[in-house]
Amino acid sequence: MADLRRLFSLNSNDSSLDEALKRDLEEDQHPEDSPLSAREVSMHASAIRREEASMQRREEKAWVLSRRAYQVLSVLTALIIISVLLLNILDLPLFGEADNPTNNEVSARYLEYGLEEGGAVNLVADVILDYRAFDTLGESNVLFAAACTVILLLRRFSDAEQVHGMPEPLLLEEAPSDPLLMAAARLLVPVLLLFGCCIILNGHLGPGGGFAGGAVLGSGLILYLNAFGDQRASRVLTFRSFRILSASALMFYALSKAFSFFCGANGIPLDLPLGTPGSILSAGLILPLNMAVGLVVCCTVYAFFTLFRKGEI
C-alpha cells in the first residue's frame, strides 16, 4: 500500500505527484495485495491536492492577518512615541522667559561685547564666524567631504569604457529647450545671482551670511543650467574651476582661522581692523570668511545637481 505520509513530504507540482504516487505504489507492491486501479490512484492524488489547497488558503489568511496586525501595531507604536515626546515637551520652559537656562553668562558676554570684539552688527554672524569659527569650519568640511563623495561615486569619465570596460551609465535624455523657461530664466538668473551675492556681502549687517547666500547662488546656477543646457553651463563652471574654487575657499578659511587660533592660544594680540560697525568693510575677518563659505556652498550645491543629472560637471 502506498505510504501517503511519504507523499506529503514531496514538494509537489501536480504532474509529478501522479508519477511519484504511481512509482511508490509499484515499489511497495506486495504479492498478497491486490493491485490498485488507476481510478483509485487519481482519487488519492486529488485528495492530496485538496489538502494542499486548503493549506495554502490557511497560509494566505494568516498572512493577511499578520499584515493587519503589523499595521495596527505600527500605528499604535507611533502614537505611543508621539505622546511620550509631547508630554516631555510640556515640561520645557516657555519661550523667552528671563530665567531660562539659555540666559547664562556665555550669552550675556556675546550680547554685551559682541559688537566691540567682533565688529559685526549681526550678532549671529559674530557668533558663528568669530567666537565659534571652529564649528563653522567643521560644517564647511562636512560639505566638502559630501561633495567629494558624490564625485567619487557618480562622476562619469568619458573614456571609462575603453579604460575599464564599464558600460556607459544611463544618461538622462536632454530635454528640448523650452522657450518659456528660457525667457523666465533670462529675467530670473541675474536677479538670483545678484541676490545671492547681496546676502553673502551683507552677512555681517543683516540676516543671511555664507550658507544662505551660497545656496541662492547655487540655485541661480542650477536655473541657468536647466534653461540653457549643458553646453553653455559648462562654460560658466567647469570641473577644473569647481575644484580650484572650493578647495581654495576652504583652504583660505582654514588658514585664516588657524592664524586666529594660533594667536589666541599663544597670547599674541590679534589686532584686526574692525572698522566702523554698520559699513560693509567692517568686522575684520567675517566678510572674507562669509565669502569663502558662500563659494564652498555654491560649488557644492551646483556639483550635486549636475552630478546627479548627468554624471559630470
Partner: protein
C-alpha cells in the same frame, strides 16, 4: 500671534503625516516643499531671520530640486524599461 503659531504647528504635523500616507510621489515632494515653507514662517515668528532665510534657500530651494531630479531619473528609467502607461497624475508607489 499664538493662534498663528498653533495653526502653523498643526499644518506642520499634517504635512508630516501626509507625506507618509499619500501615494503619488510627485505630491509627496510638493508637500515636502510646503513643510519647508511652514518652517520658514515658524522661524520668522520665533525671531530667527538667519535660520528663516537659510531654510528658504536650502529647504524649499536646493533640497526640493534634488528630489525632483531624483523623481525625473526614476521616470526616465521606468520609461526605458517600457513600464505600462500608469503615469496619469504622476508616479505611484509600487
Amino acid at each position: 500671534m499664538d493662534i498663528l503659531v498653533t495653526i502653523l504647528l498643526l499644518v506642520l504635523l499634517l504635512n508630516a503625516v501626509m507625506v507618509v500616507c499619500i501615494r503619488n510621489l510627485f505630491s509627496c515632494v510638493l508637500i515636502f516643499m510646503a513643510q519647508s515653507l511652514v518652517m520658514v514662517l515658524l522661524w520668522i515668528l520665533l525671531q530667527a531671520p538667519d535660520l528663516a532665510i537659510t531654510e528658504a534657500a536650502v529647504g524649499a530651494g536646493v533640497s526640493s530640486l534634488l528630489f525632483f531630479l531624483a523623481l525625473r531619473r526614476i521616470h526616465a528609467l521606468d520609461a526605458e524599461k517600457g513600464a505600462p502607461a500608469n503615469k496619469k497624475g504622476g508616479l505611484r508607489h509600487g
